[in-house]
């Protein structure tokens, strides 16, 4: 912090506290719902204090849960989600950071078309190309496999674009210095660019992990065997009740439980958010 101003400090905390209240309130509501009975949310104004069904609801979900309805036990779903989310996040970051490196630090024919080609993947809703994509995956024999779950969603325009933006801000002198030292492109990438990108990698990892974690439609479409079930599919199955009698409490308990592993990821990744990092390395 540059200097200490009591009023500004007060304002900072005020803004953040209001922000947290605003952002967290819906999640708080989900938690409250998860501690009530199934019907408490429907008969009168939504309660704002926890109910007495906390252990009953969470116990049910972690215990018997849906195992009687063809879905696997909660822990297996958790493991599947974890594997899928980590593979997606790592894969996206790995292939995107090297493509951004190529686009920013090299000049070669087809550089601009390649960037736009990658960028366009942001721009056609999944729902529209889902039938043809399914066909491709089926033709490649990737239905019902982890590779089918992960590889088709691993290209990332977002990550490539972010790394491009970041690399462009890295001072020119760094590369010139590296070249004077006789460092080749790969060495420069590994020793200089990668450490500098730490904060952005951490931020992206959080976002991409959560993206992978919350995948629902794609896994549901291409797997038919219960041992590929993910947590979000499990919740969806719980929530997908026809003609009325929804068990909101269990659905929300599932939402909260499914949200916990991402919290660990956030806390862990935040360690890479070291303030003043750029200065110390320069």
């Amino acid at each position: 912090m540059v200097e200490n101003r009591p009023f500004l400090n007060f304002l900072t905390h005020l803004v953040l506290i209001l922000g947290v209240l605003m952002v967290v309130f819906p999640v708080y509501l989900a938690f409250i719902a998860s501690t009530h009975g199934p019907t408490d949310f429907m008969s009168g104004i939504v309660p704002l204090l926890p109910g007495d069904r906390f252990s009953a609801n969470y116990g049910y979900l972690l215990g018997t849960g849906e195992s009687t309805a063809g879905a696997p036990p909660f822990l297996l779903m958790l493991a599947n989600s974890l594997v899928m989310a980590i593979m997606i996040a790592v894969g996206k970051i790995a292939i995107s950071i090297i493509s951004a490196f190529a686009i920013v630090y090299f000049r070669f024919p087809l550089r601009v078309p390649a960037f736009w080609l990658i960028f366009m993947t942001l721009m056609l809703p999944v729902e529209v190309r889902i039938l043809p994509t399914y066909k491709v995956v089926a033709d490649l024999g990737m239905l019902n496999s982890y590779s089918g779950l992960v590889i088709p969603v691993i290209a990332s325009a977002t990550a490539t674009f972010l790394f491009r933006q970041f690399f462009l801000t890295v001072p020119e002198e760094m590369m010139e210095a590296a070249r004077v030292d006789g460092a080749g492109p790969l060495k420069f990438f590994r020793d200089i660019l990668l450490p500098l990108s730490r904060t952005n990698i951490a931020a992206l990892f959080i976002i991409m992990f959560i993206y992978g974690w919350n995948q629902y439609l794609w896994p549901m479409l291409i797997t038919t065997e219960p041992h590929y079930y993910t947590v979000v599919m499990g919740i969806k199955r719980l929530a997908s009740v026809l003609d009325g009698d929804n068990q909101w409490n269990l659905v929300m308990a599932g939402v909260i439980l499914a949200g916990l592993p991402p919290v660990l990821v956030i806390i862990f990744m935040q360690r890479l958010f070291v303030k003043g990092l750029v200065e110390t390395e320069k």
């Binding site: 008969s43 549901m220 038919t224 997908s240 929804n246």
Partner: protein, 442 residues
């Protein structure tokens, strides 16, 4: 990965001696929660009852997601043997002649017993072709009924045992409820502009919804729901809304309608008969009454049967192993057994699909024990179905329902009269029907 490989190896080994192994019959469905558990139980019991076939149910998301998954799989040659399709997808499935294996043919080809007369006529009528052949296996069907809050009726000085029989009575009672302060609103409708408020309104009042017997006669059908009776009905709903007697709860199924009833804001709720268990569970602190849908005595003195909703099981063509279809046929036979049907019907609140299952329930005394459970059955079986009350058969019905919802909202906000809105809906709906006709005939 290894697991997958080893399973493949096992599969190869087994196929060499396939006479020993059970043939797998995949069944994609959209039933989560408790219904899903019951469905798994049915499959399990079938599997236990014999050793040649194994039905494998797979949950594939919501109804639209399940249908899309099945279509994607069909286009890639990976389709399941059985898929559960909701009633608005019926037009799509029926038009896809090369993709489906009609159930009447399936049963005949595999020499399984099949008696169309054994089914409740209004249920199978919805899923039959113009010649009366049943194309898909009815599974979960329901029809709208009226739920009312007996406590509020009492508070408003009404007899809690007497539900309104006509829309006119409903208006009077609703006004009394609101004026007395017993509740903030008289009634709310799920599917206010579609299944309940327009499709069933037309059927019960014996008014045509479309030409060519509501579309049963062919793809050239045109909408007729913009009659003066329906227009007057919509205007009436707008009038009731202005008087605070009617409250709208959103398009489609009306996500806000049931909560308004549960929170005792609205005294009456009209929705699916299959919601009965949910309504009872959610109605905390008040007694629920059940009644048939009201009829419009300015239009008819003789209300017809109501029409159904829900889903049926379609068999898809193109299974490589013909034995699979034998398994499907056997499973459908099992599914139609009175015990199986009665159990499913009584557990879920869906209609029994066979007369035998209904009679079994009567013998068991189920309907005396559970008041309100036979209202739906009586309502769909009253009188003889006419061309207007047999059901609906329109392509792209999902989209058409969306646009009718939108037109209904313009009436509620006072931008259009009932007649203008229905005329516009019919015009836009006909354009979509022509599109469907064009893409299904060449």
């Amino acid at each position: 990965m290894f697991k997958k490989l080893s399973m493949a190896a096992v599969a190869v080994a087994l196929s060499a001696t396939s006479s020993l192994a059970a043939t797998e019959v995949t069944w994609w469905h959209a039933m989560g929660g408790e219904l899903g558990k019951k469905l798994e139980e049915i499959a399990q019991k079938f599997n236990d009852s014999q050793s040649d076939y194994k039905v494998v149910p797979v949950f594939k998301g919501t109804y639209p997601e399940t249908l899309t998954a099945a279509i994607a799989a069909f286009r890639a040659g990976q389709q399941p043997a059985i898929v559960q399709v909701f009633e608005v997808g019926t037009g799509t499935m029926m038009a896809a002649k090369g993709a489906v294996y009609p159930v009447y043919k399936l049963m005949a080809d595999n020499k399984e017993p099949w008696d169309p007369k054994g089914f409740l006529a209004p249920v199978v009528g919805y899923y039959s072709d113009a010649q009366g052949n049943i194309l898909s296996m009815p599974f979960n069907s329901s029809t709208p009924i009226m739920y009312y809050n007996k406590d509020v009726f009492q508070k408003a000085g009404l007899d809690p045992e007497v539900a309104p029989k006509t829309w006119a009575e409903l208006a009077t009672m609703g006004k009394k409820i609101v004026d007395s302060g017993a509740a903030a609103c008289g009634f709310t409708l799920s599917y206010a502009a579609t299944w309940v408020g327009l499709e069933n309104y037309s059927a019960i009042q014996n008014l045509p919804y479309g030409t060519l017997q509501n579309g049963f006669g062919g793809l050239k059908t045109e909408f007729k729901f913009n009659g003066k009776e329906q227009a007057a009905f919509w205007d009436n709903l707008k009038k009731q809304q202005d008087a605070k007697v009617f409250k709208y709860g959103g398009p489609g199924g009306g996500a806000e309608t049931a909560p308004m009833f549960y929170a005792q804001q609205c005294a009456i709720y009209m929705g699916s008969s299959a919601s009965r268990a949910g309504v009872i569970n959610n109605a905390k602190g008040f007694k629920v009454g059940f009644a048939p849908m009201p009829y419009d005595d300015t239009v008819t003195k003789d209300p017809k049967n109501s029409i159904i909703g829900g889903a049926t099981l379609w068999t898809l063509n193109g299974q490589k192993n013909p034995d699979v279809y034998k398994g499907v046929a056997k499973f459908f036979t099992y599914l139609s057994k009175p015990e199986v049907q009665a159990d499913w019907h009584q557990f879920t609140g869906y209609l029994p699909i066979t007369n035998a299952a209904y009679e079994l329930g009567q013998k068991q005394g189920y309907y005396e024990k559970t008041p309100g459970s036979d209202i739906a059955i009586k309502q769909i079986t009253r009188g003889t179905p006419t061309d207007n009350s047999r059901g609906l058969r329109f392509g792209n019905l999902t989209q058409i329902r969306d646009l009718i919802d939108q037109q209904f909202e313009t009436v509620l906000s006072g931008k259009k009269t009932g007649q203008q809105a229905l005329d516009d809906a019919a015009k836009a709906g006909n354009a979509i029907l022509r599109e469907f006709e064009a893409s299904n005939s060449n």
